[in-house]
């Protein structure tokens, strides 16, 4: 059974996902995960915009990943027009990304995933029964938001970011205070690790291809080279030669595949490729969580996410120290760009690789934009996971089957994560 959704339909804002499982004994089980595309029609809205305006518009594509969209957009325009971003501004950008990833991961871990593992029917039940836990989550999330606020000018939709770097910088005294807040939050982080180390994760493994930025300058975050599952690399400008987007009749979302098929992006992909580049504290946490760094079990996305939270916490402390020691004397490069150009940038957003690729006309107007979001890349992987998971669940009561499938989908933190908490499953 397939269901057609019109491309211009707006319930994507409402954020509902729909999964169809068509199982007929003796025949192949058909899995169709319907999620409505996120930024696709925004690409058309970007056409004709001046390069100075593009990132501001793009930052509104997503409320959780607005920083990643902004940075990918700025970097793509910089690549297209030959604008340099000085090293201290690059460090500030990394710090900004750390803040976004940590706050996004904490939101997913505490508010989306925890109810499953505490056996709660909903987030509200957790709010009622585990107020201390929720208070801890909010304290941690607040520190992460403080990073975004201090560096980006506000917690979401940054305003200090600009082509070439930043238009404003935090004061040293503010950075010192932020550092104190990060250190003060470490016991909460420790309690979080204890919480997630105590959960029982469903046992399920599947060989999945992984794609991430190459960990050449540290754990994958910002970069110009991609690393595939078979250890080959390619420059981000060549992404179209390696990644194909395709449409399926049952979803308005475009799916993505590499030459070897579906692939995963996000925490587990980064961890598989960048495990050796984790901070010392994150490595200890990985041990405490007994994590499988090859990332064969998608349910362990949660563990990978938590390891990353710890890593980015520690990296934030180092970044602040470096900024305080070296100063922030040059936070913006020369932005007097003219002329046409084509450029691509990729950042590791909380959920994985985010591609922005632009072509500008000689008068600086955007002629063509192409964006690939992490969830679009993970969708086929999720469907393939469900395909493998399902045979072991078909003789289970519907409630158990439903819960496991929902937990699997949620483990990827798809862009419609809140909606998938209420995912509707049709059995045909």
């Amino acid at each position: 059974m397939s269901r057609k959704i019109e491309l211009d339909y707006l319930t994507r804002i409402e954020g509902h996902a729909h999964l169809l499982i068509d199982h007929r004994p003796g025949k192949t089980c058909t899995i169709k995960l319907e999620i409505v595309e996120t930024p696709r029609f925004f690409e058309a809205m970007l056409q004709g915009r001046h390069f100075q305006d593009v990132a501001t518009i793009v930052s509104r594509v997503c409320g959780v990943c607005s920083i990643s969209h902004t940075l990918a957009s700025l970097m793509a325009t910089e690549a297209a027009l030959g604008i340099e971003c000085p090293p201290q501004a690059q460090l500030l950008r990394r710090l900004l990304s750390f803040g976004e990833i940590v706050q996004s991961h904490l939101l997913q871990l505490y508010f989306m995933a925890v109810p499953d593992y505490l056996g709660a029917a909903s987030l509200f039940q957790v709010l009622d029964s585990h107020q201390d836990l929720v208070a801890r989550a909010l304290r941690l999330k607040r520190v992460a938001n403080r990073i975004c606020e201090l560096v980006g000018g506000r917690p979401v939709h940054p305003v200090t970011t600009c082509l070439g770097g930043f238009s404003a910088k935090p004061e040293a005294s503010q950075l010192k205070r932020l550092r104190q807040e990060l250190v003060a939050a470490l016991p909460d982080l420790e309690a979080t690790v204890e919480l997630f180390a105590g959960f029982t994760y469903p046992q399920f493994t599947r060989q999945r291809e992984a794609l991430s930025l190459q960990p050449d300058n540290g754990y994958p975050l910002h970069g110009r080279t991609l690393l595939t599952g078979n250890n080959s690399t390619f420059p981000v400008d060549q992404y179209r030669q390696h990644i194909e987007e395709y449409l399926v009749p049952h979803s308005t979302a475009k799916l993505a595949r590499s030459k070897s098929g579906s692939y995963m992006v996000g925490s587990q992909a980064r961890l598989r490729h960048g495990f050796a580049r984790l901070s010392p504290m994150a490595r200890k946490v990985a041990d405490a969580l007994n994590i499988d760094c090859s990332g064969l079990n998608p349910f362990e996305n949660l563990k990978a996410r938590l390891v990353e939270v710890v890593h980015y916490f520690e990296e934030s402390l180092h970044a602040i120290d470096e900024l305080l020691i070296c100063g922030m004397h040059k936070i913006c490069g020369n932005t007097s760009a003219t002329g046409s150009g084509t450029g691509t940038a990729v950042v590791e957003a909380p959920r994985g690789l985010l591609f922005h690729s632009y072509r500008y006309s000689p008068d600086g107007l955007l002629e063509n934009a192409d964006c690939i979001i992490p969830t679009a890349q993970n969708l086929a992987c999720i469907e393939n996971d469900i395909q493998c998971l399902l045979p072991g669940l078909l003789d289970q009561p519907e409630e158990i089957l439903r819960r496991q499938v929902e937990m699997l989908i949620r483990s990827y933190d798809p862009c419609l994560s809140c909606s998938t908490h209420q995912i509707k499953i049709d059995f045909t």
């Binding site: 954020g15 409320g63 208070a135 909010l138």
Partner: protein, 161 residues
Amino acid sequence: MVETLTRIIGVGNPLMGDDGIGIAAIRLLENEVLPTGVELIDAGCGGLTLLQFFQDCQHAIIVDAAEFRTKPGTIRILHDPASEQLPENNRLLLSHQPGLPEVLAAARRLNCLPQLTLILVQVETCQPQWQLSPRVQMALPKLVRSIFDVIAANHSSDPSR
């Protein structure tokens, strides 16, 4: 450091036409002189991040787009609304985020909801476009006046001031 007494929180997505009315209001207010202790927040597609903005303030004013089946641009003000008072299809519903009713319910459960005023504007269209529809655009000056009225009324009734 000045204590934040009132936080005006604009919510919405300017890429979605009238859904961005709350953000447009914040843009206008940024050019106005505000009373001491009043803070502006562009929360965008805030979702659960809104919980953070409810902390450390006495009065939160949320400015948002809404659907209550009346003339586009109509403004409604709700003081400490019960969940059933919230309009259907409230437009504080953004990609991968819970909606306004859920966020307010969560804040109530966590006892972190300050005094709350919702200032809602009836939308005409929430299609992908980077501007408000004419009738909602025309409501902006009145919306800003309404926000100032709410601030003034609240401050005059605050015995601590």
